[in-house]
Each structure stands twice: as structure tokens, then as C-alpha cells.
Amino acid sequence: MTHDILTHERLTRRAFLKGAGSLVVTFTFLPQRSSAADAAAPGKSVATNAVDGFIEIHPDNTVTIYSGKVDLGTGVRTAITQIASEELDMPLTAVSVIQGDTLTTPDQGVTFGSLSIQVGGMQIRQACATARAVLVQRAAERFKVPASVIKTHEGQCWNGSERVPYATLIETEGLILKVDPKALLKAPADYVIVGRSVARLDIPGKVTGRFEYMQDFRLPGMLHARVIRPAGVHAELLSVDDSAARKLPGFVATVREGNFLAVVSRTEWGAIQASQAIRPVWSDWQGLPEQDKLWAYVRNTAVSKSEDLQKVGDPAAVLQQSPKALRATYDFAIHTHGSIGPSCAVAEWKDGKLTCWSASQQTHLLRKQLAQMMKVPDADVRCIYIDGSGCYGRNGHEDAAADAVLIAKVVNQPVRVQWMRADEHGWDPKGPPTLLDFAGAVDETGHIAAWSSQAYIPQRPAQVSVTLLTADLANMPHEDAHPGNVHQALAIGYQVPNLKTTVHSLSHTPFRASWIRAPGRMQNTFGNESFMDELAHAAGGDPVAFRLSHLNDARGRECLERVARLAQWQPRTTPASTEGDVVRGRGVSYIKYELVRTYVAVVADVEVHRKTGKIRVTHFYVAHDCGQIINPDGLKNQLEGNIIQTISRTLLEEIKFDRSHITSLDWKSYPILTFPEVPTIAMDLIDRPNEKPWGAGEPTASVVPSAIGNAVYDALGVRLRSVPFTPQKVMQAMRTTI
């Protein structure tokens, strides 16, 4: 695909041209205001129902948007800029975004679940629509004409002959208003910015080394710290000998608080050396399960609560009467986020008040957690977001923040904590192990007669937060870990007369859990869509046709039909021929995300080497319907990323551990997909400009493992029910099937 680059001047001429779908539009944007450097706007509202919570129009007629949702490398900043610019009728170049600063941005919730646009962006859109309506009203009064006469364009109101900039209209009265939930939104047919591939604002800085990441942020007088984690997950710190560390130039302090241990130096290298020179003695702790008995361990973990998500008819009775009922167990390994840049944060205490800079996806929540940990009022804590390395969920950013906060308090100077690679792999919270049992039966008409699924997943505390590791180690106040809403997507959207989907919440999981891209949805969908394939084959049906025959949702059907067309799918009912060493197959998978939003259907093409068991995904096809598309190229970027990352998780990734601690501590012991293994990807984006924009990104991730597993079945006639699909597991499955 080639992109035509449009400058701002050319856009204004070409903006109204139709059919410019694949263009990427580039602008010279306002230098983004660095929230770090910004003086606090005294008294600025941070209410989510106040226009001035989200919008500030400056005297030079530029505007700042305050977004509680942050850009985790997904292009959210650009998309929010587009939404605000469109709804305000402001030039794109006049809009800048401040994200995730607890002092100035409204609390729009954690940046997760592919909800930034669907929820966060829509709050901002409504605030902008409210503002525009009021500006129009004020202009009407000024010009003494009815409001219906006033048009808005490029940050100005005009009555056909005279113009007045927005900035003038707020000079006396400001913009202190409640968001009007009924304020009329612009008609999508009039959009000139939303729906277009506006170039990402951050990319020029990122490709030239000018962009400031969290890891680049520095404060005057700042010290460098490194953490030293326990030798066993719950080992006790018995003693510390830091005599060698103390001799290093620049050494400042050893910080010890319970089982929390860190060293502080004037230089970064000094801190690293000190962390290697220090000699802690830890108690022998061996409380982890044996890795190769993990699934027995999960199955035997006490269930604290069981809950039926769906219950229709009587699947148990039907299954009992079906001589050919199918039963299958699926499992999905423990994964790390694997951010390329390990977590980093800076903290500073001044007059009892704390400021903490981090790449947290949840600065408002982090503020509460830090306040709780340090026993200070929320109001004394300010958390500021600075972009970090991509994080795909709740990784180590918040823990590094808490590390910095505690150390800065002890040494009474600003402190930067940078986790090392082993800290990140070893101690970021993990995607928990997931076990799924299925049973199903098909009737003589080739339809599903009964479906029963049971998921074994960690329980969820009421509070949506994950323990701060620092607080846990240092024995300071903290709450329980939260794995995310991992029950989601176990329920299915297919028409089945006898159906039961059940979640068993386990009282314990081996590692601190958190949400990682498509949490639970990926694991549950792996089971659902693989088992759907098993039933299709049991019924002798083509996997696409079989799905369609159980689906009466028009948008879902269209999505499946379009991916079949895109992939030139040929009906297939038996595994492909198994001649030769390398066999090929293709598999399909589908989801309506959480049964209420984005539709995705994918086809994966694979090659499997029968002598080595190695799988290569060669092509991926995706049809995607998330309603209104804000930025087509940004959407494609997200879908590509979600597919490639999830192929990696499916084929390669598994956290390894011994009885004491994680042993996958670097990229050798936890390999991820590399360039030679990346497939080609074809996409069909279904745009529905008059619908709401739904989340995009992780819905696509959720269908990847099952599509690959189904393709392997198509190639080999062997069903893979355990992620990752390592060569050993493929060979093992071939031996047991044949």
C-alpha cells in the first residue's frame, strides 16, 4: 500500500474530495505541551461532566484537550485530536492534548479494554459538541442573529459576513459549563477529519530521537536507583551486606524496608553496579507449583465462587444422551507483557507533597494507590503520565512508580527507578494460567444440540487495581491483585438450544495477576472458537458455514462472509492432504467482542513441518467492524500489531519457573516472534460512519490463537489445545492422534 502525504494546505483543498480513503494526512502540529513542564492550571476543573474539565481555549485561539485516557503507543493521542478538532471545527494544527495528569485531566478510568475511543473519546466528543453549541449561541447574540444562521469553521463563528474567533467568545464568560449529554453532534456526513488517515503526531519525534519517553525524563538533582528483588517470590530478606556497594563511586544509599531492597547512586551505572555488588541473604522459599504439574495445580485450586454466565435448556441431559458427545480441555500459558523498554518512573517529594511521573495507564488510580501506600491524602499526590514503551495492559509501570516514591521518600531527593530486563520479565504482573473444559454435541441436522463450557480463572476483587509490588514487599497498605475481567467472552453468541457457560473463580493463582491484552477474552475465545471447530468437524460441516448456520446477527454474518471472500475461502470439511514434510492449512475464527461490541472474523494460513513440529503462520486475513472508524490507517496499525503480537503469544510464549521464582528472565528464555516469522496481513475494514465507534485492537487479538489452532487442524488433522503451540506439543499431538 502506498500512502500519499498531504500537507495541511493541500488538505484544506482536498478535504472534501471523496474516496481519499487510504491517504495518510500529515500536518505540522503544535509542539505538544509537555505536561511535565506545564505549570499547574490553578483551579482547573477535572470533572468528567464539565466542559472545562476537557477543553481549554487559549487567547491565541488554540485549544488544549485534557484526556484521562492515555496513548500507550496505539495512536490514541492522534485519534482524540481528530475527534476534538472535528467536533469543535478547529484546525487539527490548533489542537494539542494533555494526557493522564491527575491535576488537570478528568478521571476517565484506566486506559484498557480498547475503550479509549469508545468511552474516553466519546466523552470528549460530547464536551466539544457542548462547547461548540454554546460558542454558536454567544456568536448569535453578538451578531444579533438567530443561532441557526451561525456557522463554525476553523475555530471561528461566522454569520455569513463577519467572523469571530472562539477565543474572543470566551473572553468574558469563559467555558465553565456542564457537558450537555444532548448537545447535537456533527453529522458524520459532514466529517472532514474523523474517518481520515491523519498521520500520527508522535511518529516524527519517535523516528528522530526527539520524542520524550518516560525513560528520558530527568529532574535536576535526581538520583538513580535500582531494585533488588527477592530470590523467591515470597522469600524473606534475612540480611544485607552492602559493604562492596558502598565503596563504589557515587554510592548514596541502600534502602531496605521489609523485603523491599534498593540501591541509590548519583549515576545510573553506579546504581547498576551497586545492585550487582550488594549481597542480600534471602530465606529459602519454594512455594510455587511444579511447572509441569501446573494444570493439575490449577484444577485443584479451591474455587471461591462459581457463576453461570449463560443458561439455556438442559445441556447436561442432552450430553448424557448423545453417544458422540465431545469433551475437550484447553489451557493457556502464563504470559508477560514483555514491553521492550522496562518500566521506569521518577518521584519527587516536596513539602510533604508527592509528584510522580510514570507511564501508568491509570494515573488517577495510581494516585489513590500511592496515597494509600504512603498514608497521605490523595490531594497530596500528583501523578503525571509520560509515554513509555508499549504496555498492553497493567505491566510494571505502576510498581516502578511505587518503587520511586518509596525510595525518594527515604533519601529525600528526586529519584529515578529504571527496572532492568530481569525485573520486568520476573516481576511485572502476569496474564494468569487459564484452564477451560468443554463438552458439546451436534444433532443429525448438523447443528449444535448442546454446549457447555467451564473456565477456571483467578477471582476478581471488587476494586479494579493490581497490588503495588513495592507495598507488598515493604509490607505497606495495599489491595489485592486483579486479573482483569477475565470471565468476559466465555459466553457465546451462537444460537444453541442447550447452553451453559460457567466461570469458576479460583482463590489463588501462582503469580501476581493483571490484565494483559484481551485478558480472559483471548483465553476463553481460544477455547470457544477451537471447540466450535471441533463441533463443525464432528458435524461434517465447513467451519465458516457451520458458524454462519448458528449466527443470526446480521453484522456478525457480514463480517464472517467478508473474511471468507477476502481469503478466498473454499469450503473444507476434512483435513487437507498430509503428503510431504510441510503441510498447509487454514482456519477461521470469529467474535462479537463481549457480545456487545466490535465484530472480528479472521482466517489464518499456516505451514506445519511434520518432522519438526514447527508452525509458521504465513498469511492472515481479517474483516473488522468497529462501527465508525476514526482513523483508518491508525486502525490498520493496531490490527497488524494485535495479530503479530498474538501470533507470538500463541506459538512461542510461556513463562517458565522453578519452585522459587520465574526463570524466564530475558529474551532468550522468553523468545518472541521475529521478522522472519511475520506473516502478510490482508484487511477488510468495514466502516459504519453513522454508528458509534467501538473499541479496536484487542478484539482482533482474541481470535488469533483459535484461528491458528484451527488451521493446524486443517493441515494435520491434529487438534492443539494448549497454548503455546510449541513444536514439542505439535509432535506430541501428532503421536497421540495417529
Binding site: H3, I203, Q215, T267, E268, I272, R421, N637, G641, W667
Partner: protein, 156 residues
């Protein structure tokens, strides 16, 4: 203990003091020279985020002691171009919108530059092989490949 080193970075000469001759070059570039192109990813030579050119060769600055780099010519991402004057490879990454979080992109561009310096007409396979040891977690690979192809065409 502390010693002075001369670093020739992006055409300018700097004097840097370090306490340890084994301190990796990366820390001097980032902390003493305030450069943001080379990034800390693993410190183990496994990811490529820290890549710079040393005498025209792509190296992992997390694994090169400052004492080995002293006096040699070093180029970082900043030395290729600026947002106002993008190098053709940087331009190609912008044109293809080849970044998500962008944390790996320094390594991708510096490694691609090393490839294109020696192979003006790389095949897609050449590009994949040249970048095989550079890790990206966001899954931007497909775009990065297209960007390097575009850059090759622009430079040829």
C-alpha cells in the same frame, strides 16, 4: 578512579567523565549527552533498542564499554536527521507510519541504515534477515519492512 573520554558523536566532539571504563556507551550517550535515540531495552545485547553506529557499523551500545568507543566516530538516530530534515529512512518510516510505541524504532532504523549502506537493493527476505535480531513487541514488523523497502527505493 574517574576518567575522561573523548566521544565523537554525530560530528561533534564531547568530553565525558566516567567512573568505570566498562560503563556501556549507552549510558554516556543518554545521561551525559542527553541523547534519546539510543534506548535501554535489555542491556544484554538481545533486543537492539540501543543500536548506534560505531565507525559505520551497527553495534549495541548497551554492550560496548565506553573505553572501546572513545575516539571513534559514533552516529546516533539524532545524527541521521531531525523532524524538520528527515533522513530518507526516517522519512520512509513516517510515510509508512511505521511505529506504535516506537520504543524499538531507533534500533530498526539504525539497523536498516547498516543494511542499506551495503545493499542498495535488498529483497524482502534480506530485510527480514537483517532485522531478525531486532525485537518489536507492538507488532509493527509489517510496516517496518515496508518502510525499509520504501527507503531502499528512495535511496537507490
Amino acid at each position: 578512579m574517574s576518567q575522561t573520554y573523548t566521544l565523537k558523536v554525530n560530528g561533534a566532539t564531547h568530553t565525558v567523565t566516567a567512573d568505570d571504563p566498562k560503563m556501556p556507551l549507552l549510558y554516556a550517550l543518554r545521561n551525559d549527552l542527553a541523547l534519546r535515540g539510543p534506548r535501554f531495552g535489555c542491556g544484554l545485547g538481545q533486543c537492539g533498542a540501543c543500536t548506534v553506529h560505531l565507525e559505520g557499523v551497527a553495534v549495541r551500545s548497551c554492550s560496548v564499554p565506553i573505553s572501546d568507543a572513545a575516539g571513534k566516530s559514533i552516529t546516533t538516530l539524532e545524527g541521521l536527521g531531525s523532524p524538520e530534515h528527515l533522513h530518507p529512512i526516517q522519512q520512509a518510516f513516517v510515510d509508512e507510519q511505521a511505529a506504535q510505541c516506537g520504543y524499538c524504532i531507533n534500533g530498526m532504523i539504525m539497523q536498516a541504515k547498516a543494511l542499506l549502506d551495503h545493499n542498495q537493493h535488498p529483497s524482502e527476505q534480506d530485510i527480514r534477515d537483517a532485522l531478525a535480531l531486532n525485537l518489536c513487541r507492538c507488532g509493527t514488523h509489517a510496516r517496518i519492512i515496508r518502510a525499509v523497502q520504501r527507503a531502499a527505493a528512495a535511496l537507490a
